[in-house]
């Protein structure tokens, strides 16, 4: 629409508009051609004539480019209804193909989605789901770890504690957040806040999105393992309801350290694993390039976790993934949180601890007994 104003400004000249139209016809033809290429590539991959994984990644890349072109064309088309209709058709074809591709996503592609830079992070959810957020800093012993954030907030009117990993999008912020990889003080801050919430009978919502606890020199010196271990033990005995959501990457002990909860939810395109696919590939295959195989073998997707009995519920994401629509993703998560949190409110404290104990005690009974 902005472009329309520009064209009318130059409208008197006539030649400018004509040239623009000629140019956009060209762009349209290119987009259409590209799209049909992508479609046939995808079809070929489904028949097994092409490597599916590779073409899915390529196709997604191309689709994003085509969509950008469509957007440009839309603004150029002005009040040309025929052009809009053609663009609309093109757009629908893009969407249909994207849905097809998403339906065929494998574990490695989901891993890439879970790590998508536009995926909503905790603060994106906080501002959409909770109100009256006030952040709490520091572990009262060493420092404040920005890779984990904690805060008092209200959830549909209830006073709650919200905490979780925080990732970031630009380089400076990423470094500040340490790519969402906490040091021991992060876990100790989380535990301190959780004890405070317990003291005042406030429920706890935790959100997991981390590649893992930070493997650094200082982290080892300050007892990364001890910090995680203590959280695991203490969370098992907190006398308030805890609801955890795996929103992106659930990276091993660094994730579990804030995920011992009464209800564990997992977003549709999140992953939860004992080791990263790359790490597993380099140990088991001695080749980090085998990450696709490792991702498949480790069974890390939401449906795998549900099947293995390690999460309670899968939270749906908007079409194409949470990164495509933060508001819709937050709305779906909000509904799932309410559904899971409300029944917990009625359970008395001793019972809630006992139930949580049994939940984890029964977890993953994968052994024979003779």
């Amino acid at each position: 629409m902005k472009r329309v104003a520009v064209t009318t400004k130059h409208g008197g000249a006539g030649t400018g508009t004509a040239r623009a139209r000629e140019g956009s016809d060209g762009v349209f033809a290119v987009s259409e051609f590209l799209l049909s290429m992508v479609e046939s590539l995808w079809a070929a991959s489904l028949d097994g004539r092409q490597d599916k994984m590779e073409s899915a990644i390529k196709a997604q890349h191309e689709l994003e480019r085509i969509e950008q072109q469509i957007e440009q064309l839309e603004s150029l088309a002005g009040d040309n209804q025929a052009a809009h209709r053609k663009l609309q058709q093109l757009h629908e074809r893009v969407n249909a193909l994207r849905l097809q591709i998403y339906a065929h996503l494998n574990a490695w592609e989901k891993t890439e989605l879970a790590r998508h830079p536009q995926r909503p992070y905790l603060l994106d959810y906080v501002e959409r789901i909770f109100t009256d957020w006030s952040e709490l800093h520091g572990d009262r012993a060493f420092g404040d770890d920005p890779a984990i954030i904690c805060g008092m907030a209200r959830f549909h009117g209830d006073e709650v504690l919200v905490l979780g990993h925080q990732k970031a999008r630009d380089t400076k912020q990423k470094v500040y957040r340490n790519f969402g990889m906490p040091n021991p003080e992060g876990y100790r801050k989380a535990l301190r806040a959780m004890h405070m919430a317990e003291k005042f009978g406030r429920p706890i919502f935790t959100f997991v999105d981390t590649p893992g606890a930070y493997p650094g020199l200082g982290a080892e010196e300050r007892g990364q393992a001890e910090a995680i271990a203590r959280n695991l033990r203490e969370m098992a005995r907190l006398k308030v309801p805890i609801v955890t959501t795996i929103t992106g990457e659930g990276g091993s002990g660094g994730a579990l350290a804030i995920a011992v909860a009464d209800r564990v939810l997992m977003m549709e395109n999140a992953i939860y694993s004992v080791i990263s696919p790359e790490g597993c590939a380099s140990i088991m295959w001695r080749d980090a390039g085998k990450k696709e195989l490792a991702a498949q073998a480790l069974r890390i997707t939401a449906s795998d976790l549900r099947e293995l009995g390690c999460v309670d519920e899968i939270v749906a994401e908007p079409e194409g993934g949470a990164h495509r629509d933060h508001d819709a993703a937050a709305a779906l998560l909000d509904a799932a949180l309410q559904k899971n949190y409300c029944p917990l409110k009625k359970i008395p404290a001793p019972e809630i601890v006992a139930t949580r104990y049994n939940k984890f005690r029964q977890m993953a009974q994968f052994f024979h007994e003779e």
Binding site: A213, Y214, P215, G216, L217, A219, E220, E221, R222, G223, Q224, A225, E226, I228, A229, R230, L232, R233, E234, A236, R237, S252, G253, L256, A257, A259, V260, Y272, S273, V274, I275, G279, C280, I283, M284, W285, L293, A294, A297, L298, R299, I300, D304, L305, L308, C310, R356, Y357, F360, R361, M363, A364, Q365, F366, F367, H368, E369, E370
Partner: protein, 281 residues
């Protein structure tokens, strides 16, 4: 023209050199001293020259700790179902069978009930040679049972860790064992039942990040590698060489993570002393 000619061309150097010591000798990998195996065993597998603590298997450990090598083994009826049907270059099922064949154990831990200087104890000793002492559903369940049994019977618990961490081939199922055991330890903590965690070479990953660090006392043998992340991973992350002695017992002691570093010869009396302190007054 040489006076002496070697017949039959070059010497064959491809095969192993056959020095027949019949496995009677071992070389200490720290001081390079050649030690007669029998001497080493008599010295509790500690190098007589430099005090290097060699890794020992779970049965030897139990023999060191429990009176007269008398104990009852429990939970030895558990074995893995291979929940992920994991296959890498080899299938997990094959790896399990091989480890079971080699060790005579079903998985990487032995639960035992016996006496330590006359005091009834429950000991879980991990077996490092069994897939790196890694913890899957079976190790997780065995240790959880040991913790529960100790809690219910008010018997002190000693866990001797020797493990690379969670077992990758059981994926997230292994990860959940951390939570399971820690939850059981929370109950034991509330029931005020003594728990001594002994960390031996090596104790890393998910085992350190759960029960190994949750003892009323956390003690370690000298020179043991103890940490959360492995040293190679840390080196790759921070892109610098790690300092000498990093992640060794003495390093952890210095940083306040351990109550004591105890020589293998002193281990049993030390634990007995601790249990006396913790016994109901």
């Amino acid at each position: 023209m040489a006076w002496f000619k070697r017949e039959g061309g070059e010497l064959d150097t491809s095969g192993e050199k056959k020095v027949r010591t019949e496995g009677l000798w071992v070389k200490c990998d720290q001081c390079r001293q050649i030690i007669w195996k029998k001497d080493l065993a008599e010295n509790l597998n500690v190098c007589p020259k430099c005090d290097r603590h060699f890794r020992i298997d779970a049965r030897t450990r139990l023999a060191h700790l429990l009176d007269d090598n008398q104990y009852e083994v429990e939970d030895d009826n558990l074995s893995s179902t291979d929940p992920l049907k994991f296959v890498d270059l080899k299938s997990y099922r094959q790896r399990l069978q091989q480890a079971q064949g080699d060790s005579g154990l079903k998985d990487a831990v032995i639960n035992a009930r016996g006496k330590l200087e006359g005091r009834p104890v429950i000991v879980s000793a991990m077996e490092y040679s069994f897939i790196g002492g890694s913890m899957g559903a079976v190790v997780g369940e065995a240790i959880a049972r040991a913790v529960e049994r100790a809690t219910d019977s008010q018997t002190p618990l000693v866990i001797v860790s020797a493990s690379g961490g969670a077992r990758m081939m059981e994926g997230v199922v292994s990860l959940m064992q951390l939570a399971k055991i820690s939850a059981a330890l929370a109950r034991m903590h509330e029931a005020r039942v003594p728990y001594v965690s002994v960390l031996t070479d090596p104790t890393t990953g998910g085992v350190t990040a759960s029960y190994a660090m949750l003892g009323d006392l956390n003690i370690a043998e000298p020179g043991a590698l103890i940490g959360f992340a492995g040293p190679r991973v840390i080196e790759q992350t921070i892109r610098q060489k790690l300092p000498e002695g990093f992640q060794r017992s003495e390093f952890l002691l210095e940083h306040g993570m351990l109550d004591a570093v105890v020589h293998r010869k002193q281990l049993k009396p030390y634990i007995a002393r601790a249990l006396a302190f913790m016994a109901a007054a």
